[in-house]
Symmetry: C2
Subunit: 193 residues, 2 copies
């Protein structure tokens, strides 16, 4: 029985024994609504680290669970706060329990019942039910750090979500985060450009 | 989509929206090896709170998960540190992910491979595989606070464990925790009484 214990390095986003992955802005081109702003950043040579995930996969049998430590950095593309790509599970009935550890953020949850935006904060848990798209957004000024715990068999489906998209965006508005309908936001961009 | 967010009150051991349960020493008579010391405490009118659990059950379908916030208070019965009753899951293949939040403790894990004692500390996760008895022990001087996250269908089996028992005890020895074979510990008690 080795490696059942994993230390969380909250500064570096490392879960000991985990597999570490980085996502830069160039990996997330489709995830932001404001394509003009992301193109401007990338063509100007800016490709910041947006988030990292360190994943420990404890077995793959029924009843096993996997653990991910996520760090979502503060920043914006235009007015949109930095976000994760978002996913639904490949076996969509799989839920996920998030545990907020540091920073200030929100999760966008979207399923056939509609769209919800829920705070992700330290000293709180957030339950993402099965059959629900979910995306994390850092609305604060420091890294947003959290655990995600899910059934080993859950899998990740990113592809179908690219087509569906999220119905809302979270943008900076006079210093505070504001949830906007994505299509309204796109219209406002068109008007301003 | 309501109540997906639960606040953790680490002082009171409350997970908002959860069901709260208390376990006093008199509920744990069988869990300690040193029956003479526990009898002495209880007959002397001491029945301290040993631990609390606040549980939020998010659904009961395949893929759902439940969350428990545990607080195990510091204290001893004779030389044995305060502990939880311990359990295996009713559907034994269910694993459990523990997340240490405060305090200093250990978990005893026991299955057909043998017995392990693993630290349960803040900023760490501890994976309890399926088919494994597990008990938490507070070896420090402050409350040991942790989350446990497990499949909704796991269930708890306490009864079979009462018969099996744990093979080791964790006792105070000149100011530090020491893991002893339970039968050796019982022999030493017999010699001292």
């Amino acid at each position: 029985m080795t490696d059942l214990l994993s230390h969380m390095d909250l500064e570096r986003g490392m879960l000991s024994g985990g597999v570490f992955a980085e996502r830069r802005l160039s990996d997330l081109r489709d995830a932001f609504a404001d394509q003009r702003s992301i193109d401007r950043m990338l063509s100007g040579g800016e490709d910041p680290l947006v988030y990292t995930v360190s994943t420990v996969e404890h077995g793959s049998r029924e009843g096993d669970q996997h653990i991910g430590l996520g760090v979502l950095y503060p920043g914006r593309v235009g007015r949109e706060f930095f976000l994760t790509r978002g996913h639904r599970h490949k076996r969509p009935e799989a839920s996920e329990v998030y545990v907020g550890l540091r920073g200030t953020g929100k999760m966008i949850l979207q399923n056939t019942s509609g769209t919800s935006v829920i705070n992700l904060l330290p000293q709180s848990t957030l339950f993402v039910p099965g059959h629900t798209d979910h995306r994390t957004v850092n609305t604060g000024g420091e890294p947003l750090v959290y655990l995600g715990i899910y059934p080993a068999w859950a899998g990740h489906d990113y592809a179908s979500l690219v087509e569906r998209g999220f119905t809302v965006v979270i943008v900076e508005d006079q210093g505070v985060p504001r949830v906007l309908d994505r299509s309204e936001f796109l219209k406002s961009l068109g008007a301003n450009h």
